[in-house]
Symmetry: C2
Subunit: 298 residues, 2 copies
């Protein structure tokens, strides 16, 4: 499916900018920790769609936050996302061999190194946010830290992964799968948008519709992921496909069927875009990201 020029251009730009920032943040030291940094770099640099950084940058732009600062927040979110991928891929978790088209970190390095690389990226995320280069106002920085910690922890991503590990046994229904995904992937995606509002000092009472966009895009993205897991190719997605079905896990696709799942995702995208109707062309990138969530093939 053709990506819109604006989206493609911004994706390429953010990808290059995030890689450059990670090159700077993850310069390997000349001591025995070099291998740890190599593992962090292997996982963090040069891969992925950078959907979350793109969302942060787009949301920050909408509220006129400085781009170089927005990129630091984007890198912090990506640190959390990448750490979660490293840990989720471990043998005792999802036991995956392939990620972003190359061997997972524990296979390219070793398990201990993978665990530590994840832990290090986790800490680095908060170090980045706390640095005054991210924003001169400590109120802004501490709000970012509070929201990211909540989104990443047991009330968010880590809690969702725990629910996911139990999912095959639990035999979840549609509300159960929805709740699981809202924690596992939705919380961090919601943070990306919230970060824009925080950086742009949007008052809390003005964030409701913006949060609606985040919630719907997050869910649409996950339904599309489930469809790709059924229909996609390993070559395009860069990871093993069909694995949820193999593990007997309920997904949006197993519960709704492909057609209804696709309709649901498209409905969510239309809804997400409606939440942006008070904005003009300055929200076009967010609109295109919403469409991309379901139109992508990877």
């Amino acid at each position: 499916m053709a990506e819109a020029p604006l989206l493609q251009r911004e994706m390429d730009r953010v990808r290059a900018e995030i890689d450059a920032l990670f090159e700077e943040l993850l310069a390997p030291p000349a001591d025995p920790r070099a291998r740890l940094y190599e593992a962090m770099r292997y996982a963090a640099i040069g891969g992925g769609k950078r959907l979350r950084p793109l969302l942060v940058v787009a949301a920050c732009a909408l509220f006129h936050a400085d781009r170089s600062r927005a990129l630091r927040v984007a890198a912090a979110v990506e640190c959390i996302h990448v750490y979660s991928l490293i840990h989720d891929d471990l043998p005792s978790m999802d036991d995956d061999e392939l990620r972003r088209g190359k061997p997972t970190v524990h296979r390219a390095f070793d398990e201990a190194c993978a665990i530590l690389a994840g832990d290090s990226l986790h800490a680095l995320a908060f170090e980045i946010l706390a640095d005054e280069a991210t924003h001169e106002d400590p109120f802004v920085r501490i709000e970012l830290v509070a929201e990211l910690a909540r989104a990443a922890g047991p009330a968010g991503m880590a809690g969702g992964q725990m629910m996911d590990l139990n999912a095959a046994a639990a035999g979840l229904d549609l509300p159960g799968v929805t709740r699981l995904q809202q924690l596992k992937t939705g919380a961090l995606i919601a943070f990306c948008l919230e970060a824009g509002a925080i950086m742009g000092r949007l008052p809390v009472e003005g964030r409701t519709r913006f949060r609606g966009y985040a919630r719907d895009v997050g869910l649409a993205f996950q339904i599309a992921d489930d469809l790709l897991d059924e229909e996609g190719s390993e070559a395009r997605t860069g990871k093993r496909v069909g694995k949820d079905r193999d593990r007997g896990k309920e997904t949006f696709v197993s519960l709704l069927g492909r057609d209804r799942a696709r309709q649901q995702a498209e409905l969510l995208v239309r809804q997400a875009i409606e939440y942006l109707d008070r904005y003009g062309a300055e929200a076009d990138l967010l609109r295109e990201i919403a469409r991309f969530a379901v139109e992508r093939d990877h």
Copy 2:
């Protein structure tokens, strides 16, 4: 060895206060994440010397910071310490079966649950610090976050653990072991003291001597740990002993011999106490903690 009454009293008090705070922070939810919270509670509540929380509370008291706030910082540090123990004990890391006198988290639960419990405690530490209940001034909170993230990450604890994993192969000398321990355990201990200075708004230029205390106590504590690993009993330490020797790792004891290692630790403790000479009786608890670092049998 008899513990001084002041130290014993404060240790017991902090232990009870930290347990009560964790009971509150880790109330299990009524959903499939309950098992994750159970694992976090299993690791965090009711065990350990609580040396780090005690250091935070003692340092905060010296600078007249409110005790209930100090306890929140203490709990954040303990979250980081406990997460590191959970991950370090994993089969692919140190592969330990016993911790604080009971089975390690991955043995009492399972490996995936242990990894996620560690990750969750890691995020929770920053959530605690970022909450305004920790301090009303966002400058104070963001400085705590910045310093803790640095102490926990690849430039601190996680980096030190990586060096430790390579230590058997690397054949470290005394400066190498010192550097490893300064990262692996020293950085977090130094944060405990620094947190007191931050909470008490001690200007950065006034912290030099205080940092000297932290560095020397941290190192003395580690040398004593190496001695206990050689001489201590599993029943008293609550963990396997003799493991560094079994793994062919150089320690302060293997490099210096027991007698010189003990002398070195005692010298460091005297030095640490000298750094406190501008303070009166209000620093007695910190003096007793320094002595305890080398006089303990667990």
